[in-house]
């Protein structure tokens, strides 16, 4: 992510929006929304004009999605007002928002997997007659998808489509319903860089055609590439609104975190990795949940003291890779070795015994049991042996002691060891899991999306722990979608594309462009 944004282009965009309609398409003022334990939006205000691409920029946890959920009628604000084209509106349900012309493409698609594309478009729709004839639906879908240059098969069932195609369906759905305001929530999270720029072209086209496009994102380069104006959210508040011409990546980042921040650079590593690889994968293949090949002959090694990052767009096999190494998924081919010992395939215990620690991307639900207490969760890996258990019996006192010690050492903010873990925030969950895994003094640590959804403070803490772990001789496999994080932490970067490792680059030689190229399927030179 470079600082070099074509200044002239941005200036032109800024100038363009100044000439747009005076009455904003959408105006939100004084919006406040509270949930148990957290204030998600605190007196937030922003407005978007017709013909404009307006970016809502903020890091994870700043309140962007809550705000958009309010705008689309899913939540109701505790305070504040919303105006559409100058008229005050109040939505009591998503249906009302839809009918008012607000369409949204969510991060997690609101599509029904088992229905077809055409059926998904017609859901909840008032206009067509009661009787749905097959052909009418197909015709309408084809008309729109061709008009938007986004071909899609109306008869295909959603579960058969790729993620990018599903997103297309979501956009078509919004247009189909006559939305004049289109909101997209982190749309490029699931796209390759090339697909993303295609999306941006579409968005600019829609803006030109008179829609108001609101882009929710945490990525600076996206904002610089496509937006006319930017509203920065931080900690639930709206911090600043400015035209893109007045912004630079550095200034935006500062607004996002509230202080001057060093944009990530590849760190100088003082660590010297050992010689013998601790973790070795040889030709590992595995089937995915939907039957296809999720991993295709992956070979990889990590040495003690090394941080190897696996980059890639979500859905290219990263989750399956983590699961296969930790034994949660049975490989269909290949071997996994830890310190020379071959792991029993598909057996988590074998991996645990060999010293493999795993921080899964699904924190509550895989890494932790949500309703159970901190002390039970803390003992999840160690309950089988002393001191936590003696014979078949548990020594509850020791479990509590372990939990208290983890809470203290890893600065987990919680009322007490018996608190159910679902009450903890993302950052504290992560610290708890890291503490628990480190407790077992593992040789290998697999960290999958460790900083997703965390605020900046928590991210820095997690990064520090990972570096410390490597410094202590652990072999760390970092799976991440965040290229900045990867460049900051990794010694080596491997890229996954469609289940295969398509390139390995030393950290010093890695650039975003090269990695993005590999992520899109380009072959290494």
């Amino acid at each position: 992510m470079g600082d070099e944004t074509p200044v002239t282009e941005a200036n032109e965009r800024g100038a363009g929006s100044a000439g747009a309609s005076r009455v904003p398409a959408v105006r939100m003022a004084g919006i406040t929304k509270r949930f148990p334990g957290v204030v998600a939006n605190d007196d937030v205000g922003f407005e978007a004009a017709t013909g404009e691409v307006h970016a809502l920029l903020g890091e994870n946890g700043a309140g962007k999605t809550t705000l958009s959920n309010i705008l689309t009628g899913l939540y109701r604000p505790d305070e504040g007002r919303i105006e559409l084209y100058g008229e005050p509106v109040s939505f009591h349900s998503p249906r009302e928002a839809l009918e008012a012309g607000i369409g949204m493409v969510h991060q997690h698609f609101r599509l029904v997997d088992t229905l077809t594309v055409a059926e998904n478009l017609l859901l909840g729709w008032n206009k067509p007659r009661f009787w749905l004839s097959r052909r009418a639906g197909l015709r309408q879908v084809r008309e729109i998808s061709e008009a938007l240059h986004m071909p899609v098969d109306p008869d295909a069932r959603i579960w058969q489509l790729s993620v990018g195609e599903q997103q297309r369906v979501e956009i078509i759905k919004a247009v189909f319903r006559g939305s004049r305001v289109l909101i997209l929530d982190e749309p490029t999270a699931v796209l390759t860089p090339q697909e993303a720029s295609q999306l941006f072209t579409t968005l600019r086209a829609m803006a030109t055609e008179g829609h108001a496009v609101i882009l929710i994102t945490h990525k600076l380069h996206e904002v610089m590439a496509v937006a006319d104006r930017i509203t920065v959210l931080r900690g639930g508040r709206s911090v600043s609104t400015l035209p893109v011409a007045d912004a630079t990546p550095r200034s935006l980042a500062a607004l996002m975190v509230g202080r001057e921040v060093e944009l990530a650079r590849a760190q100088e590593h003082e660590r010297v990795p050992g010689d013998e690889a601790v973790l070795e994968l040889e030709g590992v293949s595995a089937r995915g949940d939907r039957g296809g090949e999720a991993l295709d002959g992956v070979s990889l090694h990590v040495r003690p003291g090394e941080i190897v990052a696996v980059a890639g767009v979500a859905g290219n096999g990263q989750r399956e890779l983590a699961e296969t190494i930790s034994g949660m998924r049975t490989p269909s081919a290949g071997k996994i070795r830890v310190s020379g010992q071959v792991l029993r395939p598909g057996d988590p215990r074998s991996a645990i015994r060999a010293g493999v620690a795993h921080i899964p991307e699904d924190r509550l639900g895989t890494g932790l049991a949500p309703s159970l207490s901190i002390s039970r969760n803390a003992a999840l890996k160690s309950y089988r042996s002393p001191p936590i258990s003696r014979g078949p019996f548990l020594v509850l006192r020791r479990m509590g002691e372990l939990a208290v010690s983890l809470i203290r050492r890893y600065d987990v903010k919680a009322p007490g060891p018996e608190t159910p873990v679902r009450n903890l925030s993302g950052g504290n969950l992560q610290k708890l899991m890291l503490g628990r895994e480190f407790e077992g003094e593992p040789r290998v640590l697999i960290a999958a999306q460790p900083t997703r959804g965390l605020d900046v403070g928590a991210i820095e803490t997690v990064h520090a722990y990972l570096r410390e772990a490597a410094g202590n001789g652990m072999a760390v496999l970092l799976i991440s979608e965040d290229l900045d994080e990867i460049l900051a932490l990794a010694d080596r970067v491997a890229v996954m594309y469609e289940g295969a490792l398509v390139g390995e680059i030393e950290a010093g030689a890695a650039t975003i462009e090269e990695i993005g190229y590999l992520m899109a399927g380009g072959r290494a030179a």
Partner: protein, 377 residues
């Protein structure tokens, strides 16, 4: 505007106050129904109290009704805690009865001192058969991912047909074919006298089965709260993925828990034979719906073994009162209606334990990073 918010903590007193409160509400509703149909609620309740608890010999009779409910309640609690919905306690109890009566007959006539031998043998046989019957849905669930609700339910009917067959439509080992009368009016062979389980106490008569049930409850409590087995059950019940993550052998647990559940239900069958009927009585067993009522008991007790003991006695009293008072004057079906209402109120009360009601818009909340936001903000 009333909104529901998930509670962050669940105060312990709520777990007691709410079930008690829902009982009170249930009785109040029932009173209205009774009054509406021309029965005086106060009079009816007084009759029930006397027939169930305070009258002469009433509590002893209640314990008789409560004993099978204790076993089937524990059986349901054991399984439901791990999100294994074993509806088959009914059939597992029948199979237990089959096993217990078989072994008692096999052991033949022995002298009075050998009663402990009978008790032990009957319990073992009953437990094994009950466990095996429960392992059918267990295996299907563990290996074929077949929903255990329907399979265990279907097997209840099969079990019922089995015991009916044994006594009514065959000349099986269990059937009494010794007299002409027995041949015309099918019934089971009577157990040897020494196989009759002892009772304890004089004015208050406690069947051995009830005491065994209490012991089983204590053992189950220990198992579930103080052992590795129980730890794994709590994790699997909360999050099977987390259990897999931790390397727990979920399939083995499913089998173990189903077998345990079926075994406990089977013990209920042994108790029926040894404590009360002294013979295999298909009509009596099938008419009583012990298994299904046990689920009600377990749900009301929120799956806690000690609470199951208390609830089993309460519902046993209700059951007993219903049987005793049956007649032209006392409404039939009252027991089921009352049980249903109690359960509905308890389910509704459950809501208050898990959620808190907020009226209006003001909500005092902390501003720092609070509960996890998943999937993403």
């Amino acid at each position: 505007m009333i909104r529901l918010e998930r509670r962050l903590e669940q105060p312990w007193w709520l777990s007691v106050a709410v079930p008690v409160g829902s009982l009170a509400v249930a009785f109040a509703i029932m009173a209205i129904v009774l009054a509406a149909t021309g029965h005086a609620p106060g009079h009816t309740y007084r009759q029930m109290l006397e027939a169930g608890f305070t009258g002469n010999g009433a509590f002893s009779a209640t314990l008789i009704s409560a004993t099978p409910l204790l076993f089937t309640g524990l059986a349901a609690a054991v399984a439901f805690r791990m999100q294994l919905f074993n509806i088959g306690a009914e059939g597992q109890l029948y199979l237990g009865a089959v096993g217990a009566s078989w072994i008692a007959l096999q052991l033949g006539d022995r002298d009075a001192g050998s009663t402990p031998l009978y008790v032990l043998a009957m319990c073992v046989a009953a437990g094994i058969l009950g466990a095996l019957w429960a392992l059918i849905p267990g295996v299907l669930r563990a290996f074929a991912h077949t929903n255990e609700i329907i399979t265990s339910l279907m097997l209840n009917y099969v079990a019922g047909f089995l015991i009916t067959y044994l006594i009514f439509d065959s000349a099986s080992y269990w059937r009494d074919v010794s007299t002409l009368q027995a041949l015309s009016f099918p019934q089971g062979k009577p157990m040897p006298t020494a196989a009759e389980w002892p009772v304890f106490g004089s004015s208050l008569v406690v069947p051995l089965g009830f005491l065994i049930g209490l012991a089983v409850a204590a053992a189950l409590w220990l198992l579930y709260s103080r052992t590795r087995f129980g730890f794994e059950v709590s994790v699997i019940g909360d999050s099977p993925r987390a259990a897999r993550f931790a390397g727990m052998r979920t399939r083995r647990k499913i089998l173990a828990v189903m077998a345990l559940s079926g075994g406990v239900a089977g013990l209920g069958g042994a108790s029926q034979i040894g404590d009360f009927t002294y013979t295999l009585d298909p009509t009596g067993l099938q008419g009583a719906a012990f298994g299904y009522t046990g689920i009600v008991v377990a749900a009301l007790a929120r799956y806690n073994p000690f609470a199951v003991c208390v609830v089993a006695v309460l519902l046993g009293g209700l059951q007993n009162a219903g049987f005793t008072l049956q007649g032209a004057d006392f409404p039939s079906g009252l027991v089921g209606v009352l049980q249903g209402i109690i359960l509905f109120c308890a389910l509704g009360g459950e809501l208050l334990i898990r959620y808190r009601m907020r009226i209006g818009r003001r909500a005092r909340t902390r501003t720092e990073s609070g509960p996890t936001v998943e999937p993403a903000l």
